[in-house]
């Protein structure tokens, strides 16, 4: 069978697929699957027979993961779901004071490394990391992170206290990174037994101070690891990169219209670039583009500079939000970039950002997008 690209659009009302051949010029929409579930994130695990892993959230029933072979379109809830730990009293008070979400949810699904058969990770709110060794049927909490001494000082963000980014070092089976709003980034070098904060150089949310080694207190919005080992993050305040396994971070958002944003995408064949969608931070809790919808691409390795990508994107009347799972890339060359909005559009570039077109519209509010070549 010819390779095809499958895009998962997780929405407030189920999961939709967009499918194309490798040319990515025409797309076929199908769904909803997991109907009535809010799909915070869905990813296709391509390590063997393509398999979907989804984070399914509901206002009525408890959140769960749902997994199954892509071809069967039957996605089963975990027999033993990830059940996040309780908020600590200080965190619960903060959530109540600011009227933030407190219900347990699942934010992110991350398949294990190629050799780790059946291994999948999930990030939850309240913040915790879970690991499955049976393709998502049962889950166990990674206690080394939950018992981190800094946990008592993890402060919830506007989306709650959530662990939303999980990145596995492809070259070091013991190293991984997680991002927690609003604690920051943590790294393990021993397979999850112990963790250390990795936020040096990032602007913290208290007083705008630059964090030192070992400190927490920053609102990472999305963290991605390039196959080369370079890390990128979109933070509440700024965009950053790191070339030393997050021992320190360099701020690179100079030239962007806003330092605020949620989504982030990479080009697997080019470590020197990333894609962001800055959002106007004013406007209360609805952060959106301010009239024109633009994606920005980092220009190379030197002093930070950005290309404003506009070819095919709306230039007026576009007040669109892009959430933290709202950007993705595929693994083809040139790489495809996908940006999904809180108002149901999916914008796609098949040529690493040079041109764009709308491949879905009128979907329910989109919470997440991902792409896989199967």
């Amino acid at each position: 069978m010819a390779d095809r690209v499958v895009v998962c659009a997780g929405t407030k009302r189920g999961l939709f697929f967009l499918e194309s051949d490798k040319g990515r010029s025409t797309w076929k929409l199908s769904g909803p699957h997991l109907k009535s579930w809010q799909v915070y994130h869905a990813v296709i695990d391509t390590r063997s027979t393509p398999r979907l892993h989804a984070a399914a959230v509901s206002n009525t029933f408890a959140a769960t993961t749902a997994s199954g072979e892509l071809s069967g379109l039957k996605f089963e809830a975990a027999k033993k779901p990830p059940i996040p730990p309780k908020l600590l009293p200080k965190q619960a008070q903060f959530i109540k004071k600011w009227n933030l979400p407190s219900e347990p949810r699942i934010w992110h699904m991350e398949p294990g490394r190629p050799g780790e058969k059946g291994v999948v990770y999930a990030g939850t709110a309240p913040a915790a990391l879970f690991r499955s060794e049976d393709d998502g049927k049962t889950w166990a909490e990674v206690k080394g992170l939950s018992k981190h001494p800094s946990r008592k000082n993890w402060t919830p963000g506007a989306g709650g206290l959530c662990l939303h980014s999980i990145q596995l070092d492809p070259k070091n089976a013991n190293r991984m990174y997680v991002g927690i709003s609003s604690a920051g980034i943590f790294r393990t070098d021993d397979g999850g037994k112990s963790w250390k904060p990795a936020n040096k150089g990032i602007t913290g949310f208290e007083g705008g101070k630059i964090l030192k080694s070992g400190e927490i207190g920053t609102c990472v919005h999305k963290l991605l690891l390039h196959p080369s080992g370079r890390l990128y993050q979109q933070n509440h305040i700024g965009v950053y990169r790191s070339d030393n396994q997050a021992d320190s971070w360099e701020r690179i958002d100079q030239g962007l219209p806003y330092d605020f944003g949620f989504g982030l995408a990479l080009d697997p064949s080019n470590a020197d670039t990333c894609y962001v969608t800055p959002l106007e931070p004013e406007g209360g809790m609805y952060r959106a583009t301010a009239g024109k919808f633009r994606v920005y691409q980092l220009k190379g390795n030197g002093a930070p500079a950005w290309d404003e990508l506009s070819n095919g994107l709306p230039s007026e009347g576009a007040y669109l939000s892009v959430l933290r799972e709202g950007m993705a890339q595929d693994t083809l060359s040139p790489c495809g970039v996908y940006v999904a909005t809180g108002t149901g559009q999916v914008f796609h570039s098949p040529d690493a950002g040079a041109t764009w077109k709308t491949i879905a519209t009128h979907l329910p509010p989109i919470l997440s997008v991902s792409a896989a070549v199967v």
């Binding site: 997991l34 109907k35 399914a56 769960t64 089963e76």
Partner: protein, 94 residues
């Protein structure tokens, strides 16, 4: 001694889709026993329906032969052969 009556517990489509069961056949003499028997057959069901105290979550409705257990005073209601217990989502707001 007569065996307990056969009851059908019907799940909403949203749950049935991911749990793989829409109708769960159980033998039970009360609604509470029927739900426990359903949880035994589909262990993840309790997680979805109940809070930490074992009570139904806020927006979960349990309907025994067309009447919610909120109206009948809880899960102590006796069952008879052919009864139906239907789980619904309570819709609030307007």
């Amino acid at each position: 001694m007569a065996s307990a009556p056969w009851i059908t517990v019907v799940l909403p489509r949203m749950l049935a889709d991911v749990l793989g069961e829409e109708k769960i056949r159980v033998q039970a003499s009360t609604v509470a026993q029927a739900m426990e028997a359903a949880y035994a057959q589909v262990p993840a069901l309790r997680h979805h329906l109940c809070d930490d105290d074992g009570e139904f979550r806020t927006h979960v409705l349990c309907v025994h032969n067309g009447v919610t257990t909120r109206e009948t005073g809880g899960l102590k209601g006796r069952t008879k052969d052919g009864d139906e217990i239907r789980i619904l989502q309570a819709i609030s707001g307007g």
